[in-house]
Subunit: 254 residues, 3 copies
């Protein structure tokens, strides 16, 4: 199985699929091709949330603002999974989850000069993903295209501060529903469902699910990623809480 | 085969696919993941139009404004098809078509406490769909997760009034082309192609196809769903006829 | 393998897939379903760029502003590939690439009266694509639904003028990143990376890749389609160069 994720929109991902299918019979599964363009951190967040739900697979990941520069192309082996993409950190948060405690190994890809300097998804990453898939996640490095490396670029997310009655974090992403997902662990709301919390100085109910409040009403909940989330039932939390990605979120739950 | 439909956008559907693929080798086919958010009736309309074109399959349907509340999770058996989704009526209009006269049976899903209270697509419906697929549409209820129920939530569409020279209905949905699809059966236009009809007081030609009128010109036609449709050749019927979903449409064809 | 491309958005492509799967086990691969609506030339451009990356396949292509009129439905055989779609030229530029020098052959499709006059993707092209796939690209014409024809509609792209120090062309398409893709062959920039070029009277750097200039800076490059492209690193070239599809582009590189 090969999953595909990018910021390409359409129809560029189809060219990657065509290239893969020239040499592989792998099942192809799209993760998303509408990641915010050239936004490595947001893509890294979503991949970390979604890829761990897959069985062992090769994950082709192309959010690559440095395409054609000297940034490396890499395969990241993480347990029974491999991620193929640019060495810009986009794969690393997901890799740590997928490795499930195993050591992460990174291999640089060298397939010779690519056909283009602007579309390595098609000309480097897709053929590399097919090679990894056909050789096997535990064996691909026997192919001369792959050489182990010791250093690589990582992506980290900001750390929240969590105290007994207060937490301070950041909006990491806003999902398609308008839910503003913070980096504050959901544990701070343990035992508080049905109660209230202060968000950036304003009061809001803490509820286990969106429909616990009326349509259009704000709530604070713990999303499926297990982080604190600012939401509106049948509406957009980002607007109602007036927050954007990168904004500070201050929670008081004394 | 498992089809997938939701109002999730991306990348949440990929998490559902990963979960299914952990326990099933089913072919996966996306129906749509951009249904209007939390709009059960519109999703029910489209599923009724599209799913009957599929061979026997399990249909995973998640438009679920009540996620995490006490609304049940159900499997709807309809002939050789099964639909898996929330008990909010979203599956029922399609199920009636798919049953092809057979009796519809509904089973409540109990997989124990889900991992989240906000993403049952991933934590309840996806694993349930995989179970139904692996056990078979005619046999899944032998699994302890499924218990037959007698009552369920349905979705109905408004009924038009149809007279010899007049029909009154409603705009059910507007498709991506801007075609405004009514609930008035196309039969009212039988034999009228090439003629005229009055729509909400204004005159319009009745034609079998969009390009029968000039680019930018209005027409009334019978769409592929066999209902009367207000359209513009190479333009948007909703704008030209000034109608929105839920608006009344009055047709005079005396 | 059957690829699918259209201007349908969702969920209409799913109906086509259902129909195909009723009679075929083919792998289905989406190329794009968000081509600009009824824009045959843009779709033809993208198909020409993307389809040649696929192994032998049947390509179901539906951008069909003349649906229901007397425009024919055709299969275009191009080497080991077949394209199934309306006879409006949308398949021809891709077919020339896929034929790889072999002669293109065109067959009219006659499946009897279709169920609708507005959705031939579902009622004509999908079943025809399944027939071609099951019979084989080299053998489908033995089926009575297919009859060879001598004439067909083509799509051509405007020809640029290229001189030693000057080229004049046109913006063919703008991709999702905002890159404005011209019809001027990339060869005019050979040996000029690191230099400058004048675009519609204004100076711009010529670089092999987007990140060679600062974020938000303009550049002229050769895209993966091997044409000259007007771009902005991490921004939109169409806006920065103030060009739209169909606009003239004048390049001076003396």
């Amino acid at each position: 199985m090969i999953t595909l994720a990018s910021d390409f929109g359409t129809p560029y991902p189809a060219a990657m699929k065509g290239v893969v299918l020239q040499t592989s019979d792998a099942r192809l599964v799209d993760v998303a091709h509408d990641f915010p363009r050239q936004d490595v951190r947001t893509a890294a967040f979503w991949l970390r949330e979604v890829l761990p739900w897959f069985p062992p697979a090769v994950h082709l990941v192309v959010v690559d603002p440095g395409v054609g520069t000297d940034r490396a192309a890499v395969v990241v082996r993480a347990g029974e999974h491999a991620l193929v993409g640019p060495d810009n950190g986009v794969c690393l948060p997901a890799a740590r989850e997928l490795a499930a405690g195993a050591e992460i190994e990174v291999f640089e890809i060298d397939l010779g000069d690519p056909a283009s300097s602007t579309f390595h998804g098609r000309d480097v990453f897709a053929p590399a993903a097919a090679l990894v898939h056909e050789a096997g996640v535990d064996a691909f490095e026997s192919h001369e295209a792959f050489a182990p490396v010791d250093g690589w670029v990582d992506t980290s997310f900001p750390e929240p501060t969590v105290e007994d009655d207060h937490a301070e974090g950041e909006i990491l992403v806003v999902d398609g529903f308008g839910n503003a997902i913070t980096n504050v662990p959901g544990e701070v709301l343990d035992g508080r469902y049905g109660g209230r919390v202060t968000v950036n100085g304003a009061d809001a109910p803490v509820e286990p699910t969106y429909a616990a409040v009326g349509a259009g009403q704000r709530l604070v909940t713990v999303g499926s990623h297990e982080n604190v989330e600012l939401a509106v039932n049948r509406g957009r939390g980002e607007a109602a809480f007036d927050v954007r990605v990168g904004d500070t979120v201050s929670l008081d739950y004394s």
